[in-house]
C-alpha cells in the first residue's frame, strides 16, 4: 500500500508543481524565484549522484555549473549556436573536466576530493576574471536578445522558463531513480559504505567513482545553461562563486543526502527560505541568504544529518521501516571510522 503511494507520489509532485504558477507564483517576479528554486533542485539532484550515492562530497560543483553556463553562452555570443546544442557541448566539457579532476583525486581519501573540488573552482573563478577578453571579466557577459523561441531557449516572461526547468528536473529525477535502482547505484553506495569491501567484492572502485562524478558534473552543467538563458547574463562570481557551490551541496544535504527526492525538496526549500528572508530583511542588511545558508548548515550538522528526508522516520511517522537503503548518515560514519583506522 505504502509502496503504491510512493510510486504515485513522484508524478503527483510534478503535476502539483506544474500548477503552482497558476495559484501561487502569479507574477513574473515570483516565477523568477520559482525558476531559481527549480534550478537549484536540478543542481542538487546532480550533486547527489556523486555526493549522496557515492559519498564523495564536492564543495566545488559550481565549477560544472559555470562550465555549462559559459560554454553555451560563448557558443551563442560568438557563433550564434543554439543553447540546446551549447548546453549539450557544455555537458560534455564538464564531464571531461570531471574526468581530469577526478582521475588523480578520487583514489585518495574523501577529504582530499573535497579540498580539490573547492580549490579547483577557485582556480576557475580567478581564470574567468583574468581572461576578460573571452568572458567579459567581472563586468560579465550579456547574451544577445533573439526572437523568443524554444529553439533558442529564450522566452519573454518567466513562465516558459519555469516549465522548462521543471521538465529538466523531471528528467533528472528519473535519471537519479534509475541510477539508484541500478547495479551502478548499488556499486556507488557500496563504495560509500565500505570501499575496501567493495573492492574485495570486485567493484572497480575508482572507475565507478569516476563515472559517477562525470555523470554528476555533466548534469550540473546543463543547469548552468538554463540559468544563463534565464538571466541572459553570466559573470564569474555567480558562475564559480563559493556561495554557488555551497548552495548546490546544501540543497542535497538539507533535503536528504543519498535519497532520490531529498535534493528536490531541499533545493526548493533552501531557495524559498533564503529568498523569503532576503525580501523581509532587504532594508535591514544585504546578503541575508548567506547567513541563512550558514544557519541551515549548522542546524543540519547538529540536529538533522539525514536532512529533511529523515524527518518522518525521526518523528516516528513511518511505523514500519520501508524498503530503504542504509541511511547514509550511518554508513558515512562507518567509512570515516575506517579512514581513521587506515591512518
Amino acid at each position: 500500500m505504502i509502496r503504491t503511494i510512493g510510486k504515485l507520489a513522484g508524478p503527483l509532485f510534478f503535476v502539483f508543481a506544474a500548477t503552482v504558477p497558476l495559484w501561487l507564483l502569479q507574477n513574473d517576479y515570483l516565477r523568477g524565484i520559482g525558476v531559481r528554486a527549480l534550478i537549484v533542485a536540478v543542481l542538487a539532484v546532480s550533486w547527489n549522484i556523486i555526493g549522496g550515492f557515492g559519498g564523495r562530497l564536492s564543495f566545488g560543483h559550481a565549477a560544472f555549473f559555470g562550465i555549462g553556463a559559459y560554454t553555451s553562452s560563448l557558443l551563442l555570443v560568438d557563433h550564434g549556436i543554439s543553447p540546446w546544442i551549447g548546453g549539450v557541448v557544455g555537458m560534455l566539457v564538464a564531464a571531461v573536466v570531471a574526468l581530469l579532476v577526478g582521475l588523480p583525486t578520487l583514489r585518495l581519501r574523501g577529504i582530499f576530493f573535497t579540498l580539490v573540488t573547492f580549490v579547483f573552482t577557485l582556480i576557475l573563478l580567478t581564470l574567468a576574471r583574468y581572461f576578460s577578453g573571452l568572458t567579459g571579466g567581472d563586468v560579465g557577459l550579456s547574451l544577445p536578445l533573439t526572437e523568443p523561441s524554444l529553439g533558442m531557449m529564450q522566452f519573454r516572461g518567466q513562465l516558459a522558463y519555469y516549465y522548462l526547468a521543471l521538465a529538466v528536473l523531471a528528467v533528472y529525477v528519473v535519471i537519479a531513480a534509475v541510477v539508484s535502482a541500478s547495479s551502478f547505484g548499488y556499486r556507488l553506495r557500496a563504495i560509500r559504505d565500505d570501499e575496501e569491501v567493495a573492492e574485495a567484492l570486485g567493484v572497480p572502485t575508482t572507475k565507478v567513482k569516476l563515472q559517477g562524478f562525470m555523470l554528476s558534473a555533466g548534469m550540473a552543467a546543463f543547469a548552468g545553461t538554463l540559468a544563463a538563458q534565464q538571466d541572459l547574463f553570466i559573470d564569474p562570481g555567480s558562475a564559480f562563486g563559493v556561495t554557488r557551490s555551497v548552495e548546490i551541496a546544501l540543497g542535497a544535504i538539507f533535503g536528504g543526502i543519498g535519497t532520490v527526492w531529498g535534493p528536490v525538496v531541499g533545493g526548493i526549500a533552501l531557495v524559498a527560505m533564503s529568498d523569503g528572508l532576503n525580501n523581509v530583511l532587504q532594508d535591514v542588511f544585504a546578503g541575508a541568504d548567506t547567513i541563512v545558508y550558514g544557519i541551515a548548515l549548522v542546524a543540519v550538522a547538529l540536529w538533522l544529518p539525514g536532512g529533511l528526508a529523515s524527518l518522518p522516520r525521526r518523528l516516528g511517522l513511518l511505523g514500519r521501516r520501508r524498503h530503504a537503503p542504509t541511511p547514509p548518515e550511518a554508513s558515512m560514519a562507518s567509512s570515516t571510522e575506517k579512514e581513521h583506522e587506515l591512518r
Binding site: 583514489r107 585518495l108 544535504i253 560514519a333
Partner: protein, 290 residues
Amino acid sequence: MTTFAQAAITGLLLGGVYGLVAMGLSLVFGVMRVVNFAHGEFVLIGMYGTLALYTGLHLNPFVALLIIVPGALLLGAALQQVLISRVTRTTDLRQLLLTLGLSLIIQSLALIIFSPSQRSLPGFAWGSELVRLGPIYVRPAHVVGFVIAVVVTGALALLLTRTDLGRAMRATVDDAEMAESSGVRTNRIYVVGMAIGVCIACIAGAVLITYYPASPNAGQTFLVIAFVAVVLAGLGNVVGAFLGGLMAGLMQQFTASFISVELQDVGLFALFIAVLVLRPNGLFSRKQAA
C-alpha cells in the same frame, strides 16, 4: 636577479604569516580530525578585532595582540565546548557542514558590522612604506609580522615537544583512543587544541591587517592558502605546515613577479593540485599514498 631576490624575500616574509594560518589549521586537523572550513574566518576575526582596537582605542596593532590573544583563546575554547564538540568524532559530513556554516555566519556578520568595503588601518605607515636594503625593498610590517610568526612557531614547537600538555596533544594526534586509555583527557585536549588553533589564526589576522586590507571575503583567501600549505606539509604535520606556508608565499610571489600578479593564486593552486597528485601525503612524509 634583483627581481628574483625581491620576490624571494617578499615571498618568505609573507609566507611566514601564511605558515601561521596553516599551523592552526593543521593543529586542529591533527588533534580533532576536523577540516576546519571556518579557519579563514578566525583570521578575519583577528583582522577586524585589531582594526576595531586601532580605530577605537588607538592601540598599535602589534600591542593589540595583548588583548587579541587571550580573547581568541577564550573564543576557541568556547566554540569547541559549545558547538564543535558535538560533531568531533562523528562523520566527516557533519564536521564539514558545521565549520562551513560557521564560516558563512561569521562572514555575514562581518558584512553587517563592517560593510562589504575593504578596510585597512588609517594612517598606519608600517604596511605601506618601503625600506631600502641594498638592491631590494622591504616593508616594516612584513618584517615584524615574519618575526612574530617565527616566535609563535618556535613557541608552539616547544609546547608540543617539551611539555606534558604537548606530549598529550601529540599522543591524541597519533591515536586518540590509545591516548584516552593511557589517561589523556582527550576532550580537554580538544578544547586546548581548538583554543590554540583559533588563537594562532587571530594572531595571523592581527599581523595581516597591518598590510592587507580586511574585507568579509578575505578569510577565504587565507583559508585556501592554508589548505595549500597544510597539504604541502602533509595533513596533521603541524610544524611542517609553517614550512608549507613559506613555500606557498614563495610560489605566490614568483608567479606574481614572473607571470602575472592577477594569476598569483593560480600558481599557488596549481602547486597544490600537483602535490596532491604526486605526493598526497605531503612533501615531508615518508608514507606512501593513502
